[in-house]
């Protein structure tokens, strides 16, 4: 067992334990903090796969922006952050159905996998970051989805500004 396998096992344990705690702890802020731990564990997995760019973006976007927005939303919308709040609402059967479906889907995909600690990701080419950048703006690859996503985000931003604007 080499060092990267030890790191993999530790970070996988971190991800699983903290993901479980996200849905079981009763304090919403703690749930958000455990979610951050989960996302950080995923970033470690990206590093192990030599996808440094994805790892850093994972931390910048998910921990730096989305998780902090979660914490803000929880603090601003909840009247109290006590541990006594119910963990489910009346939609729980639907959620159960959806997650069962997702579980079946994942099981279906994972069926053919060979599980072994020896599997090592194929090394990325030296200029993978440049290739990613080229792919995002080349018409043959992903320029259309990239631009559509940008327009969508811009529309969402303008919408949020409009809703929040103080009409005179």
């Amino acid at each position: 067992m080499d060092a990267s396998q030890v790191i993999f096992i530790l970070s996988a344990a971190l991800i699983l334990v903290s993901a479980l705690l996200v849905v079981t702890v009763r304090n919403l802020i703690h749930a958000a903090l455990w979610l951050i731990a989960t996302l950080f564990g995923v970033a470690i997995l990206y590093v192990l796969l030599e996808a440094g760019f994805l790892a850093v973006v994972q931390v910048v976007v998910y921990i730096g922006a989305i998780a902090i927005m979660f914490i803000f939303a929880v603090m601003l919308t909840r009247r109290d952050l006590l541990d006594k709040v119910p963990q489910t609402n009346e939609n729980w059967p639907v959620a159960l159905g959806v997650s069962a479906l997702a579980l079946v889907g994942i099981a279906f995909i994972v069926r053919g996998f060979v599980f072994s600690l020896d599997r090592i990701a194929a090394p990325l080419p030296e200029n993978s970051l440049q290739m990613l950048g080229d792919a995002l703006i080349s018409p043959a690859a992903y320029v259309l989805p990239f631009e559509v996503a940008s327009v969508l985000l811009l529309a969402a931003m303008i919408g949020a500004v409009y809703v929040a604007m103080n009409k005179k």
């Binding site: 802020i29 850093v56 910048v60 921990i63 730096g64 922006a65 902090i68 914490i71 970051l129």
Partner: protein, 397 residues
């Protein structure tokens, strides 16, 4: 002779020989030596941090026409040590109703987010923790963890002033991240890489501050905002919210926040030196070849920009939160985007021309952007002045 060129390699090989000589397997020995290296780097940063306490106190005293610490040791040089003893023997208080685990974790994360930065800081051509090909983005990621630590401190303290301070700080950091990322993209465009070592090497002829003085200025402003130092220190705001997010921390836990802030300022100073002022390559000319000279160069530049940051801190008064947000969203962010576009276009146009022409075009483009910005600001100010000076309607009776 080899030692002075690349000390890390010599020490590494010597340690490896020693450890494998003791019968350890090669892989385990590498892990142990790497760990030792990490610990040595952190120790170096923390020792520097101790002296920064003295530097900060002495410099602020001079700015305010005082003497500063001058009793313990020559020029008060050993003042930090009594400070540390005082911090350690103080009572360690935790407020009633505080979230203990989060409360204790926050100062550690705060200092850790600064130490993270040292992993990518190229101290010399051969001494760099890890030469990431996404080094600049890593800078932003470490800042995100700093934001997280502040919100954790503010929330877990069970104190409304702490929470207010944390809110202000997060609003500040999340907003100023945008001009900062755009300012970081300017060295990326100029050098074609996000690795800090690559950026330093790309400046062997011309520093990027000559190619993009506005970019360096934007980064400095965004860095000061990210640090939460005056004029952006609304998170502390002693006169309004009594030192904000770390109000409830006592003893060494407060010390961790304080040490983190000082080291953060110094580290950002060093990064400005690396990204815009040629890193290890000057003022002493042998920085490229001899590692220790390179370290001296980087640290000297870090100290200089740390002094600039202090100079601004103790000269400019705190600004109001609406001014701070307006300054970011209505001025810095548009300016940063315009500058990025201009830089990219000029780069594409002049990339294959003579170096002196490229440099001249880049510099003039920056001057032009700066001049247009100043003109727009002036006309805006004139408009506002006219609106204020306009005769107000007197109440009719």
């Amino acid at each position: 002779m080899e030692f002075w060129v690349d000390p890390i390699k010599v020490i590494f090989e010597w340690l490896m020989l020693t450890l494998t000589g003791w019968g350890l397997s090669g892989e385990l020995a590498v892990v142990i030596v790497d760990l030792l290296g990490i610990i040595a780097l952190i120790m170096g940063a923390m020792l520097l941090d101790i002296m920064l306490v003295w530097v900060e106190r002495k410099v602020v005293a001079r700015f305010q026409g005082r003497l500063g610490p001058n009793r313990v040791g020559p020029w008060g040089l050993f003042q930090p040590f009594p400070d540390i003893i005082k911090l350690i023997i103080k009572e360690d208080t935790t407020p009633v109703g505080a979230d203990k685990l989060v409360f204790n974790l926050a100062p550690i994360l705060s200092l850790a987010s600064v130490i993270f930065l040292w992993a990518v800081l190229p101290l010399a051509s051969t001494i760099v923790g890890v030469d990431l090909n996404v080094g600049l983005l890593y800078l932003v990621a470490a800042g995100a963890i700093g934001t997280l630590s502040i919100i954790m401190a503010g929330w877990s303290s069970n104190n409304k002033y702490a929470l207010l301070g944390a809110y202000r700080m997060v609003a500040n950091m999340v907003s100023y991240e945008i001009p900062m990322v755009v300012a970081l993209l300017i060295p990326t465009v100029l050098s074609g890489t996000m690795s800090l070592k690559g950026i330093t090497l790309a400046q062997s002829n011309v520093w990027f501050v000559v190619l993009s003085p506005l970019g360096a200025l934007l980064f400095l402003i965004a860095a000061i905002a990210e640090l939460g130092r005056s004029p952006f220190d609304l998170n502390e705001g002693e006169s309004e919210i009594v030192s904000g997010f770390h109000i409830e921390y006592s003893g060494m836990k407060f010390g961790l926040f304080y040490a983190g802030e000082l080291l953060h300022a110094f580290t950002f100073g060093a990064f400005i030196g690396v990204m815009f002022f040629g890193g290890w390559q000057w003022p002493l000319p042998w920085g490229e070849k001899y590692a220790l000279v390179g370290i001296f160069n980087v640290l000297a530049k870090g100290m200089f920009f740390y002094w600039v940051i202090m100079w601004i801190k103790y000269t400019v008064p705190r600004i109001r939160i609406d001014h701070m947000l307006a300054f970011n969203w209505k001025f810095l962010t548009p300016l940063a985007f315009v500058l990025l576009m201009v830089t990219a276009i000029v780069h594409a146009l002049f990339m294959n021309m003579a170096p002196w022409l490229y440099t001249l075009a880049m510099f003039l483009a920056n001057v032009l952007v700066g001049w247009v910005t100043l003109e727009i600001l002036r006309s805006n100010a004139r408009k506002q002045r006219v609106a204020v000076e306009a005769p107000q309607p007197v109440a009719q009776h």
